[in-house]
Protein backbone atom coordinates (compact mmCIF):
# COMPACT_ATOMS: atom_id res chain seq x y z
CA UNK A 1 0.00 0.00 0.00
CA UNK A 2 1.50 3.34 -0.99
CA UNK A 3 2.34 6.03 1.52
CA UNK A 4 -0.01 8.88 0.65
CA UNK A 5 -0.85 12.32 1.94
CA UNK A 6 -0.68 16.02 1.23
CA UNK A 7 2.38 18.21 0.85
CA UNK A 8 0.85 20.56 3.43
CA UNK A 9 1.54 17.84 6.01
CA UNK A 10 4.79 16.47 4.67
CA UNK A 11 7.07 18.74 2.65
CA UNK A 12 8.59 17.50 -0.59
CA UNK A 13 12.26 17.93 0.56
CA UNK A 14 11.48 15.69 3.56
CA UNK A 15 9.86 13.06 1.34
CA UNK A 16 12.88 13.08 -0.98
CA UNK A 17 15.38 12.92 1.88
CA UNK A 18 13.65 10.03 3.63
CA UNK A 19 13.23 8.01 0.45
CA UNK A 20 16.85 8.53 -0.59
CA UNK A 21 18.22 7.72 2.85
CA UNK A 22 16.21 4.50 2.94
CA UNK A 23 17.74 3.68 -0.47
CA UNK A 24 14.32 2.66 -1.76
CA UNK A 25 13.39 1.89 -5.34
CA UNK A 26 10.16 3.86 -5.54
CA UNK A 27 7.92 6.22 -7.48
CA UNK A 28 6.56 9.40 -5.92
CA UNK A 29 3.44 10.69 -7.65
CA UNK A 30 2.42 14.30 -7.06
CA UNK A 31 -0.77 16.03 -8.15
CA UNK A 32 -1.74 19.70 -7.86
CA UNK A 33 -4.75 21.12 -9.75
CA UNK A 34 -4.32 19.83 -13.29
CA UNK A 35 -0.61 19.09 -12.98
CA UNK A 36 0.79 15.63 -12.31
CA UNK A 37 4.42 14.80 -11.68
CA UNK A 38 6.47 11.68 -10.98
CA UNK A 39 9.82 11.26 -9.27
CA UNK A 40 11.64 7.93 -9.38
CA UNK A 41 14.16 6.77 -6.79
CA UNK A 42 16.69 3.97 -6.91
CA UNK A 43 19.57 3.00 -4.62
CA UNK A 44 19.57 6.17 -2.56
CA UNK A 45 19.31 8.62 -5.47
CA UNK A 46 16.65 10.43 -7.46
CA UNK A 47 17.11 9.05 -10.95
CA UNK A 48 14.21 10.40 -13.00
CA UNK A 49 11.51 13.06 -12.79
CA UNK A 50 8.72 14.03 -15.16
CA UNK A 51 6.20 16.85 -15.23
CA UNK A 52 4.27 17.16 -18.48
CA UNK A 53 6.88 17.48 -21.20
CA UNK A 54 9.57 18.50 -18.72
CA UNK A 55 12.03 15.87 -17.42
CA UNK A 56 15.14 15.73 -15.20
CA UNK A 57 16.37 18.03 -12.48
CA UNK A 58 14.39 21.01 -13.79
CA UNK A 59 11.28 19.16 -12.68
CA UNK A 60 12.61 18.98 -9.13
CA UNK A 61 13.38 22.70 -9.12
CA UNK A 62 9.81 23.37 -10.20
CA UNK A 63 8.25 20.95 -7.71
CA UNK A 64 10.08 22.51 -4.78
CA UNK A 65 7.65 25.41 -5.25
CA UNK A 66 4.71 23.14 -4.44
CA UNK A 67 3.56 23.42 -0.86
CA UNK A 68 0.15 21.95 -1.47
CA UNK A 69 -0.96 18.90 -3.43
CA UNK A 70 -1.50 15.18 -3.03
CA UNK A 71 1.32 12.69 -3.05
CA UNK A 72 1.62 8.90 -3.15
CA UNK A 73 4.84 6.96 -2.70
CA UNK A 74 4.85 3.44 -4.17
CA UNK A 75 7.70 1.01 -3.48
CA UNK A 76 9.41 -1.26 -6.00
CA UNK A 77 8.51 0.70 -9.12
CA UNK A 78 11.30 0.57 -11.66
CA UNK A 79 12.41 3.89 -13.20
CA UNK A 80 11.59 3.98 -16.94
CA UNK A 81 14.74 6.00 -17.71
CA UNK A 82 17.49 8.06 -16.07
CA UNK A 83 17.30 11.82 -16.45
CA UNK A 84 18.98 12.92 -13.19
CA UNK A 85 22.67 12.44 -12.45
CA UNK A 86 23.11 14.96 -9.65
CA UNK A 87 23.27 13.81 -6.03
CA UNK A 88 19.91 14.37 -4.34
CA UNK A 89 21.28 16.59 -1.54
CA UNK A 90 23.06 18.88 -4.01
CA UNK A 91 19.95 19.10 -6.15
CA UNK A 92 17.76 19.97 -3.18
CA UNK A 93 20.21 22.56 -1.95
CA UNK A 94 20.47 24.23 -5.37
CA UNK A 95 16.72 24.16 -5.81
CA UNK A 96 15.89 25.49 -2.37
CA UNK A 97 18.49 28.23 -2.66
CA UNK A 98 17.01 29.31 -5.98
CA UNK A 99 13.53 29.15 -4.52
CA UNK A 100 14.53 31.31 -1.53
CA UNK A 101 16.11 33.90 -3.79
CA UNK A 102 13.11 33.86 -6.09
CA UNK A 103 10.53 34.24 -3.34
CA UNK A 104 12.44 37.01 -1.62
CA UNK A 105 12.52 38.92 -4.91
CA UNK A 106 8.98 38.23 -6.05
CA UNK A 107 7.22 38.55 -2.67
CA UNK A 108 5.82 35.06 -2.49
CA UNK A 109 5.16 34.03 -6.06
CA UNK A 110 5.73 30.31 -6.49
CA UNK A 111 7.20 30.51 -9.97
CA UNK A 112 10.98 30.87 -9.99
CA UNK A 113 13.83 30.60 -12.39
CA UNK A 114 15.58 27.32 -12.90
CA UNK A 115 19.12 27.77 -11.52
CA UNK A 116 22.11 27.28 -13.76
CA UNK A 117 23.82 23.94 -13.33
CA UNK A 118 26.81 24.37 -11.10
CA UNK A 119 28.80 21.64 -12.82
CA UNK A 120 30.46 20.71 -9.53
CA UNK A 121 29.63 17.03 -9.86
CA UNK A 122 30.99 16.98 -13.40
CA UNK A 123 34.25 18.51 -12.19
CA UNK A 124 34.45 15.90 -9.42
CA UNK A 125 33.83 13.17 -11.98
CA UNK A 126 36.69 14.55 -14.07
CA UNK A 127 38.88 14.52 -10.98
CA UNK A 128 37.93 10.88 -10.49
CA UNK A 129 39.30 10.09 -13.94
CA UNK A 130 42.66 11.67 -13.11
CA UNK A 131 43.30 9.92 -9.80
CA UNK A 132 44.10 6.22 -9.85
CA UNK A 133 42.37 4.27 -7.10
CA UNK A 134 39.75 7.01 -6.85
CA UNK A 135 36.93 6.15 -4.42
CA UNK A 136 34.98 9.36 -3.92
CA UNK A 137 35.21 13.13 -3.87
CA UNK A 138 32.96 15.60 -2.09
CA UNK A 139 32.57 19.33 -1.81
CA UNK A 140 31.19 20.18 1.60
CA UNK A 141 30.33 23.32 3.51
CA UNK A 142 31.91 24.04 6.85
CA UNK A 143 28.75 22.56 8.41
CA UNK A 144 29.61 19.16 6.92
CA UNK A 145 26.70 19.13 4.47
CA UNK A 146 27.77 18.16 1.00
CA UNK A 147 26.93 20.35 -1.95
CA UNK A 148 28.32 17.97 -4.55
CA UNK A 149 29.64 14.45 -4.54
CA UNK A 150 30.90 11.84 -6.94
CA UNK A 151 31.85 8.28 -6.14
CA UNK A 152 33.31 5.44 -8.12
CA UNK A 153 30.83 3.01 -6.58
CA UNK A 154 27.25 3.33 -5.30
CA UNK A 155 28.38 1.47 -2.17
CA UNK A 156 30.48 4.43 -1.03
CA UNK A 157 28.65 6.38 1.69
CA UNK A 158 29.47 9.92 0.60
CA UNK A 159 27.37 11.50 3.33
CA UNK A 160 29.45 9.72 5.93
CA UNK A 161 32.67 10.76 4.18
CA UNK A 162 31.50 14.39 4.08
CA UNK A 163 30.59 14.50 7.74
CA UNK A 164 33.70 12.70 9.00
CA UNK A 165 36.12 14.67 6.83
CA UNK A 166 34.63 18.01 7.84
CA UNK A 167 34.69 17.19 11.53
CA UNK A 168 38.33 16.13 11.29
CA UNK A 169 39.45 19.10 9.20
CA UNK A 170 37.84 21.55 11.57
CA UNK A 171 39.77 20.09 14.50
CA UNK A 172 42.99 20.23 12.46
CA UNK A 173 42.38 23.89 11.62
CA UNK A 174 41.60 24.78 15.22
CA UNK A 175 44.72 22.95 16.40
CA UNK A 176 47.01 24.72 13.96
CA UNK A 177 45.40 28.10 14.70
CA UNK A 178 46.04 27.63 18.44
CA UNK A 179 49.67 26.71 17.79
CA UNK A 180 51.31 30.03 17.04
CA UNK A 181 53.77 30.39 14.16
CA UNK A 182 52.47 27.36 12.27
CA UNK A 183 50.58 29.35 9.64
CA UNK A 184 47.28 28.53 7.95
CA UNK A 185 46.18 25.02 6.96
CA UNK A 186 46.25 24.28 3.24
CA UNK A 187 45.39 20.60 3.32
CA UNK A 188 45.38 17.46 5.42
CA UNK A 189 46.29 13.98 4.28
CA UNK A 190 45.21 11.08 6.46
CA UNK A 191 46.82 7.74 5.57
CA UNK A 192 45.03 4.65 6.74
CA UNK A 193 45.50 0.95 6.16
CA UNK A 194 43.13 1.01 3.18
CA UNK A 195 42.94 4.57 1.88
CA UNK A 196 44.26 8.09 1.66
CA UNK A 197 41.89 10.88 2.64
CA UNK A 198 42.90 14.28 1.39
CA UNK A 199 41.00 17.33 2.59
CA UNK A 200 41.68 20.80 1.22
CA UNK A 201 40.01 24.09 1.98
CA UNK A 202 38.76 25.84 -1.14
CA UNK A 203 39.80 29.40 -1.89
CA UNK A 204 36.39 30.79 -0.97
CA UNK A 205 37.10 29.78 2.65
CA UNK A 206 33.62 28.27 3.05
CA UNK A 207 34.01 24.81 1.56
CA UNK A 208 36.28 21.79 1.68
CA UNK A 209 37.21 19.40 -1.08
CA UNK A 210 37.57 15.85 0.23
CA UNK A 211 39.02 13.02 -1.81
CA UNK A 212 39.23 9.36 -0.84
CA UNK A 213 41.47 7.02 -2.82
CA UNK A 214 42.59 3.43 -2.40
CA UNK A 215 45.89 3.18 -0.59
CA UNK A 216 47.48 0.53 -2.79
CA UNK A 217 46.56 2.14 -6.12
CA UNK A 218 46.96 5.87 -5.73
CA UNK A 219 50.14 7.87 -6.32
CA UNK A 220 50.37 10.31 -3.46
CA UNK A 221 52.06 13.10 -5.44
CA UNK A 222 49.46 12.79 -8.17
CA UNK A 223 46.67 12.98 -5.62
CA UNK A 224 48.02 16.14 -4.01
CA UNK A 225 48.72 17.76 -7.38
CA UNK A 226 45.21 17.15 -8.67
CA UNK A 227 43.63 18.25 -5.42
CA UNK A 228 45.29 21.63 -5.90
CA UNK A 229 44.30 21.95 -9.55
CA UNK A 230 40.71 20.87 -9.05
CA UNK A 231 40.25 22.88 -5.85
CA UNK A 232 40.83 26.02 -7.91
CA UNK A 233 38.28 24.96 -10.54
CA UNK A 234 35.71 23.98 -7.94
CA UNK A 235 36.16 27.22 -6.09
CA UNK A 236 35.41 29.14 -9.28
CA UNK A 237 32.38 26.96 -10.07
CA UNK A 238 30.64 27.29 -6.70
CA UNK A 239 27.61 29.58 -7.07
CA UNK A 240 28.26 32.85 -5.29
Amino acid sequence: MPLAGNLRDMALPDLIQITCQERKRARLKLRRDNEEAEIYFDGGEMVHAKLGELTGQEVIYHLLGWHDGEFALESDVEPPERTIDVHWAALLMDGLRAYDESTSESLGEEVFEVPKKTGLREILAELGQEVSGFMAAVVVGLDGLEIAAYSASPDVDVENISAQMTMFMRLVETTIAKMKMMGTVEDDLLSTEKAFLLIRKLDDGNHYLGIAAERDKVRLGNLRLHSRIFAKRLSEAIPK
Binding site: D157, N160, I161, Q164, M165, M167, F168, L171, V172, T175, I176, K178, M179, K180, M181, M182, G183, T184, V185, E186, D187, D188, L189, L190, S191, T192, E193, K194, A195, L197, A212, G221
Partner: protein
Protein backbone atom coordinates in the same frame (compact mmCIF):
# COMPACT_ATOMS: atom_id res chain seq x y z
CA UNK B 1 70.42 11.49 27.21
CA UNK B 2 67.77 8.74 27.17
CA UNK B 3 67.55 6.09 24.46
CA UNK B 4 64.48 7.70 22.95
CA UNK B 5 66.14 11.14 22.88
CA UNK B 6 69.13 9.58 21.13
CA UNK B 7 66.89 8.18 18.40
CA UNK B 8 65.19 11.56 17.97
CA UNK B 9 68.59 13.29 17.73
CA UNK B 10 69.69 10.82 15.07
CA UNK B 11 66.48 11.42 13.13
CA UNK B 12 67.01 15.16 13.36
CA UNK B 13 70.54 14.84 11.97
CA UNK B 14 69.26 12.89 8.98
CA UNK B 15 66.73 15.59 8.12
CA UNK B 16 69.17 18.49 8.27
CA UNK B 17 68.19 22.13 8.17
CA UNK B 18 64.52 21.52 7.34
CA UNK B 19 63.97 19.95 10.76
CA UNK B 20 62.14 22.20 13.25
CA UNK B 21 60.89 20.00 16.11
CA UNK B 22 59.76 16.52 17.03
CA UNK B 23 58.14 14.86 20.00
CA UNK B 24 56.87 11.54 21.22
CA UNK B 25 53.57 11.75 23.02
CA UNK B 26 51.29 9.38 24.91
CA UNK B 27 47.66 9.20 23.82
CA UNK B 28 46.87 10.87 27.14
CA UNK B 29 48.49 13.97 25.61
CA UNK B 30 51.55 13.91 27.87
CA UNK B 31 54.99 14.44 26.37
CA UNK B 32 57.50 11.57 26.57
CA UNK B 33 60.44 13.10 24.71
CA UNK B 34 61.19 16.10 22.55
CA UNK B 35 63.88 17.51 20.30
CA UNK B 36 63.73 20.99 18.76
CA UNK B 37 65.85 23.21 16.59
CA UNK B 38 64.89 26.36 18.44
CA UNK B 39 61.45 26.45 16.83
CA UNK B 40 59.16 28.80 18.78
CA UNK B 41 56.55 26.12 19.42
CA UNK B 42 54.87 25.27 22.71
CA UNK B 43 55.65 21.53 22.72
CA UNK B 44 53.53 20.72 25.78
CA UNK B 45 50.45 22.35 24.31
CA UNK B 46 51.22 20.80 20.95
CA UNK B 47 51.41 17.33 22.51
CA UNK B 48 47.98 17.65 24.07
CA UNK B 49 46.33 19.19 21.02
CA UNK B 50 47.76 16.73 18.52
CA UNK B 51 46.74 13.82 20.76
CA UNK B 52 43.16 14.99 20.17
CA UNK B 53 43.77 15.14 16.43
CA UNK B 54 45.15 11.60 16.39
CA UNK B 55 42.28 10.27 18.49
CA UNK B 56 39.78 11.78 16.07
CA UNK B 57 41.77 10.48 13.08
CA UNK B 58 41.45 6.96 14.47
CA UNK B 59 37.72 7.41 15.06
CA UNK B 60 37.14 8.82 11.56
CA UNK B 61 39.01 5.91 9.99
CA UNK B 62 37.05 3.43 12.09
CA UNK B 63 33.69 5.01 11.17
CA UNK B 64 34.64 4.93 7.50
CA UNK B 65 35.86 1.32 7.80
CA UNK B 66 39.30 2.22 6.43
CA UNK B 67 41.41 0.25 8.88
CA UNK B 68 44.10 1.53 11.21
CA UNK B 69 45.59 5.00 10.79
CA UNK B 70 49.21 5.09 9.67
CA UNK B 71 49.94 8.77 9.71
CA UNK B 72 48.56 12.23 9.21
CA UNK B 73 50.16 15.08 7.28
CA UNK B 74 49.05 18.67 7.75
CA UNK B 75 50.32 21.19 5.22
CA UNK B 76 50.17 24.86 6.15
CA UNK B 77 51.54 27.88 4.31
CA UNK B 78 54.63 27.66 6.56
CA UNK B 79 55.25 24.09 7.68
CA UNK B 80 54.50 20.40 7.35
CA UNK B 81 53.27 18.59 10.46
CA UNK B 82 53.48 14.80 10.33
CA UNK B 83 52.09 12.57 13.05
CA UNK B 84 52.32 8.80 13.18
CA UNK B 85 51.12 6.17 15.65
CA UNK B 86 53.83 4.10 17.31
CA UNK B 87 53.62 0.41 18.17
CA UNK B 88 50.24 -0.57 19.58
CA UNK B 89 48.87 2.94 19.12
CA UNK B 90 49.28 4.05 22.72
CA UNK B 91 51.83 6.68 21.62
CA UNK B 92 52.31 8.87 18.60
CA UNK B 93 55.24 10.67 17.10
CA UNK B 94 55.00 14.22 15.76
CA UNK B 95 57.46 15.89 13.42
CA UNK B 96 57.51 19.54 12.38
CA UNK B 97 59.53 20.46 9.28
CA UNK B 98 59.78 23.52 7.08
CA UNK B 99 58.06 23.73 3.69
CA UNK B 100 61.47 23.25 2.06
CA UNK B 101 61.61 19.67 3.31
CA UNK B 102 61.22 16.83 0.82
CA UNK B 103 58.01 15.21 1.98
CA UNK B 104 58.73 11.80 0.54
CA UNK B 105 62.03 11.66 2.43
CA UNK B 106 60.45 12.74 5.73
CA UNK B 107 57.71 10.09 5.43
CA UNK B 108 60.27 7.44 4.51
CA UNK B 109 62.52 8.31 7.45
CA UNK B 110 59.56 8.31 9.80
CA UNK B 111 58.61 4.81 8.68
CA UNK B 112 62.21 3.71 9.24
CA UNK B 113 62.54 5.25 12.69
CA UNK B 114 59.06 4.44 14.01
CA UNK B 115 59.92 0.96 15.18
CA UNK B 116 63.15 2.11 16.84
CA UNK B 117 61.29 4.78 18.73
CA UNK B 118 58.66 2.28 19.86
CA UNK B 119 61.40 -0.03 21.14
CA UNK B 120 63.08 2.86 22.95
CA UNK B 121 60.00 3.89 24.94
CA UNK B 122 60.55 2.72 28.56
CA UNK B 123 57.93 0.27 29.82
Amino acid sequence: MSAIEQVLREFRNELGSEFLATNVVGMDGLLIATEAAGAPVDVEAGAARFAMVMKLAAKVSERMKLGDVDDNLITTDKVFVLTRFLGDGSYFWGVLVSKEATLGVVRLLMREYADRLWQAIPR
